[in-house]
Structure formats: structure tokens, C-alpha cells
Amino acid sequence: MSGTLAAGKTKWGILLAVTAIVLVAAGIYAVGAYQRFEESRTAASSVGVTAGQPLPGVPFVLFRNTASGQGYGNAATVPLSAPSGTRAVSDQECDRVYGTHETVVCLKTNRGLVTAFEAAVLNSDWQQQRTWPVPGIPSRTRISPDGSMIATTVFVSGHSYATAGFSTATEITLPGGTSGNLEDFALMVNGERLVTTDRNIWGVTFAPGQSDVFYATAASSGRIWLVRGSLSARTLTAMHDNVECPSISPDGTRIAFKKNDGGALAAHWKVAVLDLATGQETVLSEKRSVDDQIEWLDDHNLLYGLADEAVEGDSNIWKLGTEAASQPGLFIAHAWSPSVVR
């Protein structure tokens, strides 16, 4: 080869060698990774587990199991009375779960050459009742207390102004199977309807005992609000600033949420609690950044997941009291996406 190409024989040799070396190295790495995956998939779980159990009849915590070994990534339960005890692991892989005594909603990733995402409703025997596609990566999900309505939030790519940008899509699926995209709801701020395009809604929580009312986060032009939603009026009304991923307490009086005190780019989310009657806001003492929709263990304690910094793909569920001075403690190790079923 000569001419306009710069390569002499030596250069072609080098190119061939470089290509061969990197391809072989990548191939060896891939084979090694595949073998490690096969080993971990068939290995016994690193925690005590039982399989093939239906949802417990007693109060329990539903979560995503992230303990290495068999059952990694599957929905699992522990009794509320023994959260660190043996966990019952289902055969349902879920990225995000939420449940009642009768129903589990499971947001999952269907891997393939075209990776797609779906929401699945499971009964108490983990049998799939119905599924529907969701338009992005699972983020949050909630079921209304009576089990009739399901809210999902996913990250959509290719949705924003920049084609590679990220935004959220939040839908509420009603009993009849119809669903409503919350972006189509009228967003009211200070009594006026907000007419801007760059709005995102995420993190729905259903108010106990009120079938029409829910709370969520709405954002537009860099501002973030807690909104109170009405399904019948199809409105979202801004109530409070800087509340993300609200979660209403079992008694319906308070909202736990994540509050960003680090700015739009260097987000650092503190755990905070808002009293709905007084508007009083309490920021709690958790120092780590909590990027989760918080769950109420009871009327005085919160649960949330935190990624394990030492092990990629692992996470733990932490417990924190709602008094300003209380300190976080480990609740369930190797777990994610807690849902307390009383």
C-alpha cells in the first residue's frame, strides 16, 4: 500500500497489532464479566432468603432485593416485625416496586436489542395481572391506598429541547385502565395558570382517604413546587416551594420530601418534613444526599434507599425519625425501593 495513504508496511503492522490487541483484550474482559455474572446468578444469595412465598398476611415491607447472588434485582418482602430477618424473594425482577396487601406494581426493564420498559400489576401470588409500556427508565411508583390507582414516573430521553436531554413522564392509571399524563393537567401557580412548555411533573403520592387528591412535584423554568392535584378537575395547584418527591404520612397530616440545598447542578437533597396544616418545614439531620421518594414506616419514622458507595449496583434502606435531632440507622441492608404495607 502506498500512495496517498500514509501507511508503510510497518504502520499497517502496528495498526493490525493494535486492533488485534484491543479486540482480544475487550473480548477477554467480556468473557470474564460473563463468567462472573453466571457465577453470581447461580450462587446462593448473600443473605438469608426463602423463595416461592405469596405476599405475607401480616404487615410487611416490600422492596427490591439487591443482595448479590440468586434473586438479585427481584421484588422481595420481610415482615415489618423482623426487617433484618430472612427475606422472601419473588421471581419478579423489578427496578421499582410498591404494594398493598393485594396488589404489587412493578416497574421493570425488558432488556433486549430494543430495550423497553413496562409497568406490571401483580397479585398477592406474584401473578401478573396486566402490563403496559412506559416511555422511559423507571423512577417512582405509588399505588393509592384502596389499590385502584397507580402512579408511575419515568425518565424519558429524547423528550427535552436537546434531543439527548432528560425529562420525566408521570402518569396516573385509573381503575378503568385509562391513564392521564400529568403534563396535560392545568398547572396553577398563585392563582394563575402557568403556560410554559418546559415543565416536568414527578413523584406522585396519594392522600389517604381522599380518592380525588394527590400530591406531586412540578417544575418549570428552574422553579420547583409541591402541587396538590385533583383528578376530577385535572388541575395541579402549587402549594409550597422546593419540595421534591413528596410522600404523605399515613395519618395524612405531614409530607416528607427531599429538599435540594445544593443548586440545580450540584444537587444535594436533604430529608425534610412539611406540616400541611401549619406550613411548618423541618429539615432533618441526614447528611448524605437522599435521592429517593421517601416512605413512611409509621407516623414518626421515615424510610429511604441510599446507593452503597462501595459496591456498584447495591443499596441499603435507612430509617430516620421525624424529630429534627434523630439520627439515621440501617433498616434493611442490600435493598431498594421500600414500600410499607400495614
Binding site: 496517498t4 495513504l5 432488556r111 409500556p133 416511555p135
Partner: protein
């Protein structure tokens, strides 16, 4: 297609003296091996970058457990930065007279960024890596297109760009498939995807460094030697080139009424529920049409003139808008939109680079190409933001029709602006579109 690797023996090239007045059909097409190898560099580099891009959202949210809203913001900044870096890189390529070195710096930066993925954990590390990759892309594009331009037969300029864009898009289509295949085999195998991506990046840099000659651009340097050396001389002087100035205005005008693909996919998604499930395939479908039509439309541009094909591509985009906003749809409506969108890219992307290089004096080749691409990128960003407002104000279908009407007006204006522009060997045919 006739590809010869040895037809350029002796390093002699019959670089055009004039502006290529011969008919395309009179000069047999011979693909310069330089263009073939640049296409291969782009192909493996796109495999590298698109494989990571495809799985990055999954990795960040599903695996690391981080929210990704801020990525949209960072990506916006990056696109702007990338567009500006592109002009600087084009200018540096012209000034140094060594476009290959600048291109190599760009590909090299992206490759280094990929090494970072092997060690990255947090949000900021990933954001920095993605930024490095984007800037690398901004640096390499214009010098590479300048290399293609000087290596191509002038009679077959658009077709040569078409060959490059086809190879480029093969990589862009293959990358996500490779990445998702790895994740299918190894569900948590993100690190494997990163290693594979790095391997392809290394191959791309190696091919560029070892095989592609550092064309000092016989034409490139001599003409730019004297006046091109003055700092900032580049910024406005090329606008005074009558042809290029008109082209930049025309491309900017069309860019301002080109809404992002994302919006079109969203309209389709809202109309056909199947598109929710197959959303990722919409991108792939457009890419496949693009790669299939890149060469045929390049040939057409060489034969009938680049301006008519460039305008025709936007006509395809106009029909896409109308088809997407039509009340009926179904599978065939969606497929029709993807085909038209792919045709739009095939008729405009490489053809614009060919047009820009044809209208730029040799000493400012990379700057001229970079200017055209930057104008398109920035005007399209503006258009997307504006269309977002319109979308919410009047609804999706109406917004599409409004955009279509604006595009139709812009097309008429552009046809007038570009009338008489030397757009191809047979410029007499090229003017009247």
C-alpha cells in the same frame, strides 16, 4: 460501487485547477482511500460513542441510582460548547495547515474520555467525561470534513461525503445494538460496554493516526498562507465570500424552522401507541434510511446540483411535518415519517459540507465547513426551544402545521437566496430550484 485502494499511486492527485466544470458523468467515480479510511474511523468511533450514549441513562439512573434531570441541562451546555469549539477547531486546522492533527486531537480527546468511564462513579465524573467526549466531537468534525473535501474528486464531492456519512451511520446504528446485546448477555455489564467502547475508540484513533495521511492540503495551505494568518481574520472574512455568506444565511434560515427529531417522534408516539414500545427503534429507523440513501442522494447532488438536493431534503422534512400532523396515521404513517426524515438527513448533512467546502476558498476550507455546521447546530437549538413554546401554546398537530408553513416560506426564500449559487458541476441546472 467501485472502491479501489490503489488507484492513487504515487501520491499524485489531479486536484482541480478551476471549479470543476466537467460533467459528473465524464469522470469515473473513484473513491479515495483516504475517504474510505476516514469513514472507517468515523464508523468505529460512532460504535464507541453511540454504544455508551445508548446505555448511559440506564447506567446513571438504574445502576448508580442518580437522578438525571441535570444531564439535560449539561447536555444543552455541551451542545452549545461543541458548536463553538467546532469553529475554533476549523480555524486552527486552516491556520496550521494540518487538519489531520486537529482531527486527531479531537478523536484522541474522546478516546481519553472513554478511559474515564472505567473509573467513574459519581454524577460529576460522568458529566465531565461526557463533556470531554462532546468537545472532542466538536473539534474533530470540521477538520475531518476538510480532509474528505480535499481528497474527493470535485465532480463527485457530494457522493464522497455520502460514502463517509453512510459508514458513519453504520457505526451509529451498530453501537446501540452492540451495547444492548452486551447488557442482554450480562444484565449489569455496564463496565463491559465501557471496555468495548474504549476498544473501538482506540481502533479509530489508531486508524486515523497510522493510515490517514497528513494532507497538508496543497490547496489548503498555499492560498491561506498570506492573509489567513492574521488573528481573527477568519471570523468575518469568510462571510464576504459571496457564495458562502449566502449559504450560511440559507442554512441558518432553514435551521430556524427545523424542529428536533425528538418532537416528531413524540407526535408519532402520541398518535400511535405502538411507538411507545418501539421508541428506541424510531431513532434506529431514521439512521438506517439515512445510511441507505446517503450515497444515492450524494450522487444525485453531483449530477443535478447540490442546492436542489439540499432544498429537496428540506421538502422531505416539510412532508414529514404534514404527515406527522395528519389526523390519520397508523404503522405506515409512522414508517413514512421515518423514511422522509432519513431522506432529509441524507440529502442535507453531507451535501451541506460539500456545498460549504465548494464555496470556501481552499485556505479556509475547515473554517468554512465549521461555520456552516455551527450555524445549523445553533439555529436548530433555537428552533427546538421556540417550537417547544409553540407546542404547548397551540397543541402538537397545529404546532407542526405552523412549523410546516414557516418551513415552506423559508424554502421559497432560500431558493431565491441560493439562486445562481454555483452548486455543482452543472451550475446552470442548479440555480432554479
Amino acid at each position: 460501487m467501485y472502491i479501489s485502494l490503489s488507484d492513487r499511486s504515487g501520491g499524485k492527485r489531479d486536484k482541480p485547477q478551476g471549479n470543476g466544470t466537467a460533467l459528473a458523468s465524464e469522470v469515473p467515480f473513484r473513491l479515495s482511500p483516504v475517504i474510505l479510511w476516514l469513514g472507517i474511523v468515523s464508523m468505529v468511533t460512532d460504535v464507541s460513542s453511540e454504544s455508551v450514549t445508548a446505555i448511559l441513562p440506564l447506567y446513571v439512573t438504574g445502576f448508580l441510582g442518580l437522578s438525571t434531570i441535570a444531564f439535560g441541562f449539561i447536555d444543552g451546555i455541551n451542545q452549545g460548547a461543541s458548536a463553538i469549539v467546532r469553529i475554533a477547531a476549523g480555524w486552527a486546522a486552516d491556520r496550521s495547515g494540518h487538519p489531520k492533527r486537529i482531527a486527531l486531537a479531537g478523536y484522541g480527546l474522546s478516546m481519553l474520555a472513554r478511559i474515564g468511564f472505567l473509573f467513574a462513579g459519581g454524577f460529576w465524573a460522568i458529566a465531565a467525561i461526557v463533556t470531554g467526549d462532546r468537545i472532542g466531537k466538536g473539534i474533530r468534525t470540521a477538520p475531518r470534513d476538510a480532509l474528505i473535501s480535499v481528497s474527493a474528486q470535485p465532480e463527485h464531492l457530494a457522493r464522497s461525503f455520502g460514502v463517509h456519512r453512510m459508514l458513519d451511520n453504520i457505526g451509529a446504528a451498530a453501537g446501540p445494538l452492540i451495547a444492548f446485546f452486551v447488557l442482554l448477555m450480562i444484565p449489569q455489564g455496564f463496565s463491559t460496554v465501557f471496555v468495548v467502547s474504549l476498544a473501538f475508540a482506540v481502533i479509530g484513533v489508531a486508524v486515523l493516526a497510522l493510515v490517514v495521511p497528513d494532507i497538508q492540503a496543497r490547496g489548503l495551505k498555499t492560498a491561506g498562507g498570506r492573509e489567513g494568518r492574521r488573528l481573527f481574520a477568519f471570523s468575518w472574512s469568510h462571510l464576504k465570500e459571496p457564495g458562502l455568506g449566502k449559504l450560511l444565511i440559507a442554512a441558518g434560515l432553514l435551521g430556524l424552522v427545523t424542529i428536533g427529531d425528538g418532537f416528531i417522534y413524540l407526535v408519532l408516539q402520541a398518535r400511535d401507541s405502538f411507538a411507545v414500545q418501539w421508541f428506541p427503534l424510531l431513532f434506529v429507523g431514521t439512521n438506517v434510511v439515512f445510511l441507505a440513501l446517503a450515497i444515492p442522494l450524494g450522487r444525485l447532488a453531483d449530477r443535478v446540483g447540490k442546492v436542489p438536493v439540499f432544498i429537496g431534503g428540506h421538502l422531505a422534512l416539510l412532508i414529514t411535518y404534514l404527515l406527522a400532523s395528519a389526523p390519520f396515521g397508523g404503522l405506515w404513517g409512522t414508517v413514512g415519517c421515518l423514511v422522509l426524515l432519513g431522506a432529509f438527513y441524507a440529502a442535507t448533512d453531507g451535501v451541506l459540507a460539500a456545498l460549504a467546502s465548494q464555496l470556501t476558498p481552499p485556505g479556509k476550507l475547515a473554517t468554512g465547513i465549521a461555520s456552516a455546521q455551527t450555524v445549523v447546530a445553533l439555529s436548530r437549538m433555537t428552533a427546538s426551544a421556540g417550537f417547544g413554546v409553540l407546542w404547548y401554546a397551540v397543541g402538537a398537530a397545529t404546532a407542526m402545521i405552523v412549523a410546516g408553513a414557516l418551513l415552506a416560506c423559508a424554502l421559497v426564500a432560500v431558493a431565491l437566496i441560493l439562486r445562481g449559487t454555483k452548486s455543482g458541476p452543472r451550475s446552470d441546472l442548479g440555480g432554479g430550484a
